[in-house]
Structure formats: structure tokens, C-alpha cells
Symmetry: C2
Subunit: 594 residues, 2 copies
């Protein structure tokens, strides 16, 4: 069974749940009324399912090949698919019109990214990283740098990368050693080794623009001495075309458990020419612009792999005849019933739907706040910025944790066949696993949430989230069809508030309490956010039903939402109990006894 | 870092927690006082860590090779390691002395199996399946069959396999088509295709004894017409030596996500000569003798992979310097602190320890009941048999679920390096995943528990488990050092009892309620059993401490036990809430909407 783009889910979210037509006054939405978005996503879905999805298994089996001269070849078909990507204008969807972009809302770009990641995660990382490089230069680059690099990145003619990690430093960038020596012409000579660089070298684009963190000679140690540089593979000539080869080379590829179609490179910089982006020693802040965007993208990958794996498992469960229903044959003429009759199989599938549907809503809802950063009302702009900061680590960690778990359940449904490479689920499971690690491991996200995002601006972001939920619950008090959802939401919010209070009281006194609570708190937060999303979805579905809609699509939303309340939300209590148990036991275990 | 056999854990369990010296009157234990067991396990640990562990990565990278003549080659070094296995007498540990076995207690065999599975799961499956074939023939074979096959299986000179699955039937064996036609000499001609046969063909032994489920011509359809046959690769000659080649061949190997060093074969039977084991049409019952033993072994694999992955992650966390402790530098002279200072890293490691230590206790405690099947007291024998039936599905599903989760957390601790094939954790994760599927998928275990094991003999097994816990809690009422553990245990048991009552009341009325509750019930059961194990472990550790023991090994048990109560046991509430939510929502979702 091939991947089916979830267009109907996307349109239901945009039209009914998020009601994006409210924002027609914003430039991005003015260009794209819902019928245009529908057309674009339909086309995008065809590209993803017809061009990218058939190459997913090829990429997994072939992987990328490295030659001793440093050249890297992508799997068969990737070049043609990339050409089609550029010709289709897909990399330009959400980019700024000033640089050749189509200026569409982020949520449209996100819907495309979801589909391309479901269809072929390894492939979709090439344009994904390019978009990150685009964002960093857009935010931090000089006008000349923007003019030189952005059009090529937006069109996809050039690729982009992020170069952070070195053998001795991943999470702790303060330890980085790559050095930058100023040259007479204002450029720098960059030297050092970077590892785990996705798309660091490949054969898809005529140039690759590396964004590299390095320490300028004499800069302070630690994170305060890190600067960001543009280091192109080929130095742009006077016309901006790729000219002389720069002294940067791929020294080898990593052997990995998954995403074999993406080249994970060791990069060697040997006095390569680079140009400073933004100010000296302020590179980390700029890289975080790129990182935050990338983190949302990684959360999306978790969702996307979960969706693809869910589809494969649901198809298998409908087709595979084995055993009989516990309540008597449902396919009496056949040799056995489809395994979908078994409650425990349905449990795994509905677990997936309940998380995927509300997780997608949460992601789109957050991305919409990204679009509201241009809103004329300052209060809206501020809240939008607050939410982007607060929700990003939650989305990154929760959706990748759950996405991987959904892939594992999908394999479980497919049984022995799922463990073989006949079915695609093994690849989904293997590919999805990296998303819990890169762009900041999920534990780092949890620490970012409790240590930074909660406390920022006196807790303004989380307070406005609580206030928004309270206002919603109050406003729907008379809406009886929604009562199960608003009650569950109010209870979830009360628990999250209790957890937040505990953190405020205990985390400052002993930071280890915050660290010990962080992962459980993040999951409690996500469960609350998903409760809110289910309430929004149920409200939208109820509105359609009340208007006489008889398509079961809408009634099914209410069933999946009830499933969430009955069978996923109970974890919130357990999360609260765990996080309030503190750090004493954790820290009492002697280091040498592990 | 190489795998370290957990000998100290094994001996603490056998000596302090299970106090096996109580059973010196049983033949198996009479032969093996604790000092002898200690010596044997020390030797076993050396074999596993020095011979098997170094071949684990080799097996993963090379896999097995199939030639078009049907021959299968195992990875480099496996033949030599297998020869050492046979020479060391390791396959004979727990086997009956009448057939060349050493007659040692099951728990000793289990400790060896854990170590060999941690060191090299793919390799350890070859002798593991052989032991299953031994058990089936021991229980169901004629005296002539026993004399012909058992000594060769016990010594490991011949290998054994289980042949159940066919393309159209895995869980639902009633659909099987492999047929058996009686021959004039009392043997049968077996024809059909079997798939996913572990160790179906290889180069390790001079013969392979296939135990094959097939339907005798004219037998009833469904599970009541299935018989069990011995089909040797080489027909034994008059001296019992491998003679003429039988008409069974390996038609190919499966490409799998893990356990590459184990040959997973498609087996073609083309009028192969076979001999009936036991009675006609009673094959399934015999196969279940083998299956139940295999299920305990699979639970053990989950534990073993979790242990190996834990060890690798703990070593990484001690060595990797990155960032600083939230409460100030702990390695001020170094460039950064080891990541073990972070509470969230400790959380993942203690999660592993809390499950592994009590999970191992639960497994050993259950296996000890296997040894008590020979006890002179009939009440002890009956309870032992009841417990083996009741606990087997719980151990199989819970330990494999958690073992895989521990492998995933171990990868998380190792970060990017964990996702590459530089470290062993990717292999542990990939290898461990099959254990949730084979020998009855975990959902099938859960259904076996709620649908069969709970109800058997009027619920006698679960009632005696409850009574045993109550008696323990009562007996320890005055033992104040144990209070946190007995209180947690009593509360867990009360929840399990509530869940059991709910199942009795709702599962009969509507079997879908039982199916819908099954997985959550199984986990609730396991959490209760582990609470009991932690109470036993804490009691044993406290006794040592009270006797003046100052080795922190014992005090650390109490810390890990508290961790279990604070951070794992809260899931029991969530499991109860989920299971009592019933099946209505699950079944309301239309099949075509998935």
C-alpha cells in the first residue's frame, strides 16, 4: 500500500478547526484563500505520493555513497526527484516574495513538509536543511549576503546545511574548537572538523551553502565566543554563479540505523573561506533562529513517520485474515476475520489517530502563530512570539517520542512481516528514531521548556496559555455537546497548573528538581495541549454535524477524541505524580554504581 | 565497553532474595549448592563475554548467507563459538541427566541464557530453539524417539527448530495447510512451506531436527486437526548417525531489521520423511509445551537486550563530558561534567535498573516454580504449575515491551553516536524489537492472560497470587524498614484486584471488553508483580544491612526500589483507568475509517 496524503485532515484543520479565513487581512493569507490552498496541497500530495514515496525504500536500501575524492552520490532517482522539486517550486512555498518565494502561510509549507517527510524522510531533509540556512541568512545576514544567497536557496538551486556538532561537542556547544582567522579582505579562514552534518555533501544541487559555527581567534571561551559563518562549497563569482572550489570537503559518511538516503557527513574545513553572518561572538543566537525552526520541523518528522506507519498498519489490519472476532465471525464466508476486529489492534490504531490528529492540530495551530508574527495588533504579535517559544520544545519532543512509539505499534500490528524488510514499517521505525535525538535531544527540549521557556518574561507565555484555555472552557460552558471535552480539558489544565506551581516552588530551590521533573512535565504539557486541540476539533466537528452534515468523517472525530480522553489522558495523572516526586532518589544513586 | 556478566545480581537473587538453599532436598539443587552455582555462572559469564560478545557486531554486519543449493553460512566465528559452546557443555545445563544433561535447576540455565542473549542474541537463538525441540520430544515423544534424538540435542551436536508459521497463518494456526501423508512404514510424508523458521538451516551442527506442525490427510479442519512431526534434515541411520538427506530445504532467508546473525528461513518440505510425535491431531498441545518454554525465553531476551543496552548507556554517561551539572560543576578541572550528573539522564538509567532488577527477580522467581514442579508436596507442585501458566504471558510481554523501551532510552543517552553503528545500542534496539512479536505477539499474550490464564480452574492461580501477597504484607506489618515497600505493594495489589474484578464482571458479558482491557491489564499485573519483587529485594537487602553489611550494593537496592515506587508504579493508576474504560469507543470507530 502506498502513502496517501492526508489532504482531508489538512483542509479540515485549516478550514474548520483553525478557520484561517479569519486572517484574510494578513498578506500571506490574502494570497491564498482556502480554495487556492486546497489546489496547492492537492498538487503537493501528488508530487509526494507519486515521486517521493516510491523512492523511499530505494533510498533505504542503497544509501548514499562516498568516494575518496569527497564526492557523495545520492540513491538512484533522488536527482530526478530533486529536479522535479525545484521545477515544482516547492522549496519556495513559504519563503519571502522579495527573494523569489511564494509568501504563502507557514501552515501551507508545513502541510507540504509533512507529506514530503511521510513519503521520504531522508529526501525531504535536503530541502529542509536548506530552508534553515535560508532563515538564518534572512534573519542575520547583510543585504549583500541576502542578495547573493537567498534567491538560490529559495529556488532550491543551492542547498544549505547547519554545522554545529564536533566530536567533543554536541549539546554543549561551548566546547567547540573550529576556528576562524580574519583575512585581509574581510573574509575568514575556517578550520576544523564538523560531524553529523546532514546533506553536507551530495549531488543534488550546483552549490551547497554551509552555515558554520566557529570561534574567531582570540574570542572568549565557552558559548560567548561563537560566531556564525557562511562557507559555500563553491565560492560565488562576480555574477553570483558557483566559482572556485572552497577548502571544505566531506571526509566520510556515517553508518546509521536509518535515514540512509540522507548523507550524514563528516566535514573537514581546512582554511576554507567564510563570511561572518551578523556580529562577532553572536553566532549562537543566530543559530538558534535556525534551530527553533528546525525543531518544529523535527517534531513534524515524528508526526510524519507516525502517519506513514499508521497508514501501512491500518491497511495491513484491514487485509490480514487471521483468527475470529471475540464476539463471533465478522467475515463468516472467509477463512478468518481481518485482524481489525480485535480490540487490541484497534487500540493501537486509535492510539495513533488520537495522537496524530491532535498532534497535527497542535503543530498547525502553533505554526499559525508564526504567521501571526506579522499581525497588525501588537498584543497578537507578542502572544504569537511567546507561544512559538513555549510550544516548540513541547512539539519537538512529544511528537518525536510518540511518532516513534506509533511506528513501533505499527510494526506490532504487522507482526513478523513488519520485522522483515518486505513492509515499509521497519524503515519508518528506523528513520523516525533519529528525530528524538537531533536538533537537541528530547531531554534537552524538556530542560529548555522548564529552565528557560516557562520562566521567560515572568512566565507570561504559560500564563496566557492557561488564560486562553480558561476563556475557552468558560465560553463553551453552555455547549453541552462539548461537555466531555471541556471537562477533560479543564481537569488537564488544572493538573498542568499544579505541576507548574510545583516547579516554581521546587525548581528554584534546587535546580535538580527541575531537571528531574522536566520530561514528565513536558509530556504533561503536551497532554494538556492535545486536550485543548481535541476540544477545538470536537467543536468544529459538532458545528458541522449541527449544520446537518452526515459524512461520518465528522462523527468519527468525536470517537477518536473520546478515545484520547479515555485511554491517553489518564497518563497525565501519572506524569504529575512522577514529576512531583522530586530529585532526591535520582541523585541518591551513586555515580559509580550505575 | 564490553558486556559485563551481572553475576553479582544473579547471586544476590539466588542467595538472598530467593534463598534457593531452602530447596536442597530437591534433586536439581542437591547437585548444585550455591558455591557450585557461583563457579558455574562465573565460567558461563567468561564464555559469554569473551567468546560470544565480540561476535555480536560481526553477526549484525555480516548476517547469514544463503546459497541456491539451500546451504546457509553463519557469520565468521559462529562455528568456532558454537564448538566452544558444545565443548563447554552449556546446552546441557538444565537438561535431564537421563539424556546426558547436567540436571541443574532451571534458574541456573536461565542465568546462562540471559548472559548469552545479552552477549549475542542472534547466536543464542540456535541453542535456544534446540532446547525447545528437546522439551517437546521429552514431553511427547516415544521412548525410541527420546533415545534417538535427545542425547544429540542435549549435547548440542544436533540443532532443533520449531515450524509453525506459514504465509497464511501465524497467530491463527487453525489455517495451516502443510500436509502429512501416512507411509507404509509408519512414517509420514510431509509437504508444505513454513516461513520465519529461526535456525531452519545453518552450518553449526551435523544435523537439524525440525519439529513441524502439519495436518494428516483427512484430519479435521482448524486447530483440532493438527499433528506434530519430527523431520530431521538427515535421516538417522541404524547407529543414530546422520544418514540420507531428507526432502526438506531452506528456500531462502528473510531480510530483517535485526538478529542478522540468526538464519530466519523459508523452509520447503517436499514429501519429507517425518515421524509423528505423540497422538494424531494433538500436535498443538505439544507445541504449546515448547511454546510456553520459548515464551519465558523470549521474555528473557527482552531483559537481556535491555541489560546489555543499559550497560552501554551507563558507560557512555560516565565517560561523555558535556555541559555542567545544574547545581554547579562536578568535574571542575575537566572541560565539562559527565552527562551522568543530569537528573534526566539518571532518570532513564534508573528506569532501566528498576525494571531490569525486579524483572530479573520476577523471571527467576517464576523459573524457580518450574523447578518446584518436582516438589514432594502436592500443594507446592500445583501452585508451581499454576504460577508458570499465569506468569508466562506477563513475563513475555512485559519484559519485551520494557526491554525494547530500555534499548531506546539507551540510544537516547548516547545521542547521535547511538544512532550510528559505532556503538552497539542500535543493534540492541533492532535485535530486541522482534521479541515483542515472535512466540505469540504481545497482544496475544495479553489475550492469553485475560482469556485463559485468569479464568483457568476458577481463577485459582491469580487467587493464590493475591493470597501470597496478602500473607507477605501481613507478615511484614511490624517490619518498619520495609513499610514503603509493603504499602506500595498493598496498594498495587488492590488496584490489580479491582482490575481483575472489572474483567470478571465485564469481560464475560462482552468479550470485547476483555480484549480491550487486555494489554493494560497485563501491564497492571506486571507492575504489581514487580512491586512484590521490590519488596522481596528490599527485605533481603535490609537483612544484610541489619547484619552489619556496609557494601553500598545493598543500600543501592533500596534506592532503586524507591525509584520504582516513585516513578514507575504511578503508571498502575493510569493502566487501571484505561482498562476500565471498556470497549465501546474502540468498537464504535468504523472499520473503513481507519
Amino acid at each position: 500500500m502506498t502513502y496517501q496524503p492526508p489532504l482531508r485532515e489538512h483542509l479540515f484543520l485549516l478550514r474548520d478547526v483553525l478557520a484561517v479565513d479569519r486572517y484574510a487581512e494578513l498578506p500571506a493569507f490574502a494570497e491564498a484563500p482556502l480554495d487556492v490552498i486546497e489546489q496547492i496541497l492537492g498538487e503537493a500530495g501528488r508530487y509526494c505520493s507519486e515521486v517521493l514515496a516510491p523512492l523511499n525504500g530505494v533510498g533505504d536500501r542503497q544509501g548514499c555513497a562516498w568516494r575518496s575524492d569527497g564526492a557523495v552520490t545520492t540513491p538512484a532517482g533522488f536527482k530526478e526527484a530533486y529536479r522535479a522539486l525545484v521545477e515544482g517550486g516547492w522549496p519556495a512555498l513559504g519563503a519571502a516574495p522579495a527573494w523569489g518565494g511564494q509568501g504563502l502561510p507557514s501552515v501551507v509549507g508545513l502541510a507540504f513538509s509533512e507529506m514530503s517527510s511521510s513519503a521520504n524522510m531522508a529526501f525531504s531533509m535536503y530541502p529542509g536543511l536548506t530552508h534553515g540556512a535560508y532563515s538564518a541568512i534572512l534573519h542575520g545576514g547583510s543585504e549583500a549576503q541576502k542578495a547573493l544567497y537567498l534567491p538560490a536557496l529559495v529556488s532550491g538551486r543551492w542547498g544549505g546545511t547547519m554545522n554545529l556538532t564536533e566530536p567533543q561537542c554536541g549539546t554543549d556547544l561551548g566546547l567547540l574548537r573550529t576556528k576562524a582567522v580574519p583575512a585581509a579582505d574581510g573574509s575568514y579562514r575556517i578550520s576544523g572538523q564538523k560531524i553529523w552534518i546532514s546533506g553536507g555533501e551530495h549531488d543534488l544541487t550546483e552549490n551547497i551553502v554551509h552555515l558554520v559555527l566557529a570561534r574567531i581567534e582570540g574570542a572568549p571561551a565557552g558559548t560567548r565566543g561563537i560566531s556564525l559563518f557562511i562557507v559555500p562549497k563553491f565560492l560565488p563569482d562576480a555574477d553570483g554563479a558557483p566559482g572556485a572550489r572552497n577548502a571544505v570537503a566531506c571526509a566520510g559518511l556515517e553508518e546509521k540505523m536509518g535515514i540512509h538516503g540522507n548523507a550524514t557527513c563528516v566535514m573537514a574545513y581546512d582554511e576554507a573561506t567564510g563570511w561572518l553572518v551578523g556580529e562577532e561572538n553572536r553566532g549562537l543566537a543566530l543559530m538558534f533562529v535556525m534551530m527553533n525552526e528546525a525543531r518544529l520541523g523535527v517534531g513534524l518528522q515524528g508526526l510524519a513517520q507516525g502517519e506513514a506507519a499508521y497508514q501501512a498498519a491500518a491497511a495491513f489490519a484491514r487485509d490480514r485474515l487471521q483468527g475470529r472476532s471475540l464476539t463471533g465471525p465478522k467475515n463468516a464466508e472467509g477463512p478468518a476475520d481481518p485482524i481489525l476486529v480485535h480490540p487490541d489492534v484497534r487500540r493501537m490504531l486509535l492510539d495513533a489517530r488520537a495522537v496524530l490528529e491532535a498532534g497535527r492540530a497542535f503543530l498547525f495551530w502553533t505554526a499559525l502563530h508564526g504567521d501571526l508574527a506579522d499581525h497588525p495588533d501588537e498584543a497578537v504579535r507578542q502572544k504569537a512570539k511567546d507561544y512559538m517559544g513555549l510550544m516548540t520544545p513541547v512539539l519537538k519532543a512529544y511528537l518525536t517520542d510518540r511518532g516513534f512509539a506509533i511506528c513501533s505499534d505499527a510494526m506490532q500490528i504487522c507482526g513478523g512481516a513488519g520485522f522483515t524488510e518486505h513492509l515499509p514499517v521497519s524503515q519508518y521505525l528506523r528513520d523516525s528514531r533519529i528525530a528524538l535525538i537531533y536538533e537537541g535531544a528530547n531531554g534537552v527540549q524538556a530542560l529548555d521548556l522548564v529552565g528557560r521557556k516557562l520562566a521567560a518574561d515572568g512566565g507570561r507565555a504559560v500564563m496566557s496559555f492557561f488564560a486562553e484555555i480558561d476563556a475557552f472552557v468558560d465560553a463553551q460552558a453552555a455547549n453541552e455537546t462539548l461537555t466531555p471535552f471541556t471537562e477533560a480539558l479543564a481537569a488537564a489544565k488544572a493538573r498542568l497548573q499544579e505541576g507548574t506551581l510545583w516547579l516554581m516552588q521546587n525548581g528554584l530551590a534546587n535546580p535538580d528538581n527541575a531537571g528531574a521533573a522536566s520530561t514528565d512535565y513536558l509530556h504533561l504539557f503536551a497532554l494538556t495541549a492535545l486536550s485543548y486541540m481535541w476540544a477545538l476539533i470536537a467543536k468544529a466537528a459538532n458545528a458541522r454535524i449541527a449544520a446537518g452534515e452526515t459524512d461520518p468523517f465528522f462523527a468519527n472525530k468525536l470517537v477518536a477524541g473520546r478515545y484520547f480522553i479515555e485511554r491517553i489522558l489518564p497518563d497525565a495523572d501519572a506524569r504529575l505524580a512522577k514529576l512531583t516526586s522530586g530529585s532526591a532518589t535520582l541523585m541518591a544513586y551513586p555515580a559509580e554504581a550505575f
